[in-house]
Symmetry: C2
Subunit: 429 residues, 2 copies
């Protein structure tokens, strides 16, 4: 008897390690927006943002190979790679963000950012939305309301309702919703200020990606920013998902919604899959953190990591990928809106650039989430060779966040498959 | 005016980011045990364990290049790379360690291990030595007594005096020292058990590397293990420094000192510098952790990381590097003992395999630590093209932990330089 790959995985990695899809995909090769499984079947990747400039982009592969064969040490020696990269990175952000601290994962970046906020404010209370995910360290895991820690939440963590443009808090989308959200933040600030923790920071993804990327107008966060600033708190923008041009209109998510955070964290797409992440902050903030907390990260900012990150950034800039994200993203959303005219299960089409999707409902009038149906649609797409997934407050939002080299032809292939799946899948709970 | 590299670094990375040596080294190339700076000067690397099988080992570089050009995704798809690697890795450990969880850094591995202990025991109290370092996340940073967190230590952390074979607790080295240490652990267990945290785990490096790698006999931890087990606690062995054959006599540090931990964490040398780390545990422990804490790590266990780790493990095994560590380590220590006969500043020579060094004292009779002198010696070695550093409870232990391909000729070069530096450096406080 031969052991199946799934059984072998359960034996070696633990019996309850998650996979995507009812029938997991066994991938062996990738290039651009395409992936191939062990049987040679091709898949269109509409999901993965980690291979930001496309799977196995030759310029990134070449940069990794060249540097891995030359030198790979740590940042207690001097090396120009990290300096050149941080110079190029901070140039995309602009003042006052003139320095960066490298880590290996977005989780590590957010873990540092929380302590950076503590160093700035002298306080430890953190506010996050109740449907977010910022990573997997002990401290950062506490911010996932969707994933309660055994033993309960730490008392320094407070939650506010995740923004939902389709079912806005207070009933009216746009700025009334914005003020309702700010009021919730104010409530939690007040509650934290009555504890020994005090209020330190609001951490958020400026695109509210895991919350289902609600459609929020420019300026929507202004009332919240005012509330946080007035309380002496700082804002951490977790740009792990919206950053690096993905939204098409702006290189950073916080620019699109129109505010300036105090601390920025980045990760996944930064080096096309090489384990690289960072915290970007003003010089004084970096100094405050490094004075309060000694910090050294062996692998972070090493020459190979920086070569991979630099190559990725250059490809984004030199191959016009932000513009591609804007154009192809608009095209794909127009296609989804067209499908929505024929499939009433599509209650809302949202997104920006190459981060977009559709919220699936049982009935557009009641907006009842079609959660189980959405999962079947994702599995149906996988069966048709198109990889995407779902998220959102009700887990009923199809999530498409492909490599930034996604083309109109790719969008057409996704739309055709989706049309087919929606025809074939009964709208049942 | 041109900006110096050091000034540029302060501007971009923060004004207080640490470097090694009074005159930092600007490295541009590495191969085997050698490194070269921007002026073409060669250095002998007696310090870095991250390039475990030697800087830029061609088999590791080739594995990274080949896989980076083929596929790099995450573990929610199936891939044989992680399975083949975990199978090979756990085979080096033996029962009951049959599964592993991959992370990107040793810090992440220890952060997971603490929660794994919580999942097993239902408690959260942690004991560590008062001169250890287990990493940089918020939770793990709490274990560094040498690096106090602003706002004070968490109440679930307790410390015991770091083992010191040169100045043993209770005055008598060997098993009396072992019982004295176990009694201190018992005291802290009792103290934690009076709190709501209870006692969950003792975390330690089985080689007590950062404590100054004291010379402890096989069985030294037995009384401590008994105390921990009797209290229902578990032991985490942090093998980030001693693991992968470095100690020459055993592939793992816990085997050398002669006990079986409950959870093993690994990191730095695992993939020769590629950001890879892991937690190794029995199947039931892995299941308990994954049931209690949902955990996913985007970059961890990806195909490129596993290819790098597998190539590194194969080189260690196929090129006989553990045996090389034993032979060359013995040779180097004999050379240090010879130097000790001529230089009375060398109070003690310790280590195992290719992790060794010498404790520097003002006077062998009083054993007064020669801390400032040790730092000058490290800087003197750097000026002579030999890279090493210092650590220990009094920061007076020269630390040599070179790539595992370190040769007798390399040892001779180090010993000659050290002889020269010790002659040239006045023994002053």
């Amino acid at each position: 008897m031969t052991e199946t790959l799934t059984d072998r995985r359960a034996r070696l990695l633990g019996p309850n390690m998650s996979t995507f899809y009812d029938e997991p995909v066994h991938l062996v090769r990738g290039l651009g927006t395409k992936l191939w499984d062990a049987e040679g079947r091709e898949y269109l990747d509409c999901y993965n943002n980690v291979p930001h400039v496309g799977h196995c982009h030759p310029r990134v592969v070449e940069a990794i190979c060249a540097q891995a064969g030359t030198l790979n040490t740590h940042t207690r020696y001097l090396h120009e790679g990290i300096l050149d990269y941080v110079e190029a990175l901070t140039a995309t952000v602009g003042a006052p963000f003139d320095s960066a601290l490298m880590t290996c994962t977005g989780s590590e970046a957010n873990d540092v950012a929380l302590r950076m906020a503590q160093a700035l404010t002298g306080k430890t209370g953190v506010i996050a939305t109740d449907h977010t995910y910022h990573g997997n360290t002990t401290a950062v895991h506490q911010l996932s309301r969707t994933n309660p820690p055994p033993g309960g939440y730490a008392t320094n963590v407070a939650f506010v309702p995740a923004p939902d443009s389709y079912r806005p808090l207070g009933g009216v989308a746009g700025m009334p919703h914005a003020h309702a959200f700010a009021a919730k933040v104010q409530e939690q600030i007040d509650a934290l200020e009555t504890t020994a923790h005090g209020f330190s920071t609001l951490i958020l993804c400026p695109f509210f990606a895991n919350e289902g990327f609600p459609d929020l107008p420019h300026g929507w966060l202004d009332p919240t920013v005012e509330v946080v600033r007035r309380a002496g708190g700082v804002i951490i923008a977790d740009e792990v998902q919206p950053g690096f041009g993905r939204l098409g209109t702006d290189f950073w998510g916080f620019r699109k919604i129109g505010f300036t955070p105090d601390i920025i964290t980045i990760g996944k797409p930064m080096a096309n899959g090489h384990p690289v992440a960072a915290v970007i902050a003003p010089h004084d903030t970096m100094y405050a953190f490094r004075s309060a907390f000694r910090y050294f990260n062996t692998f972070a900012g090493n020459p190979v990591s920086c070569a991979a990150a630099m190559a990725t950034l250059k490809v984004v800039q030199e191959e016009g990928l932000m513009e591609n994200a804007r154009v192809v993203g608009d095209y794909a959303r127009a296609g989804l809106l067209d499908l929505a005219g024929r499939h009433h299960c599509i209650g809302d089409v949202r997104g920006s650039g190459l981060f977009f999707g559709a919220e699936m409902v049982m009935d557009p009038a009641t907006k009842t989430p079609a959660t189980a149906f959405t999962k079947r649609v994702a599995n149906g797409m996988r069966q048709r060779g198109v990889l995407l997934n779902f998220l959102g407050i009700h887990y009923n939002v199809l999530k498409m966040r492909p490599p930034m080299v996604f083309s109109r032809q790719d969008a057409d292939r996704m739309l055709d498959a989706l049309d087919d799946v929606l025809r074939a899948t009964p709208l049942e709970a």
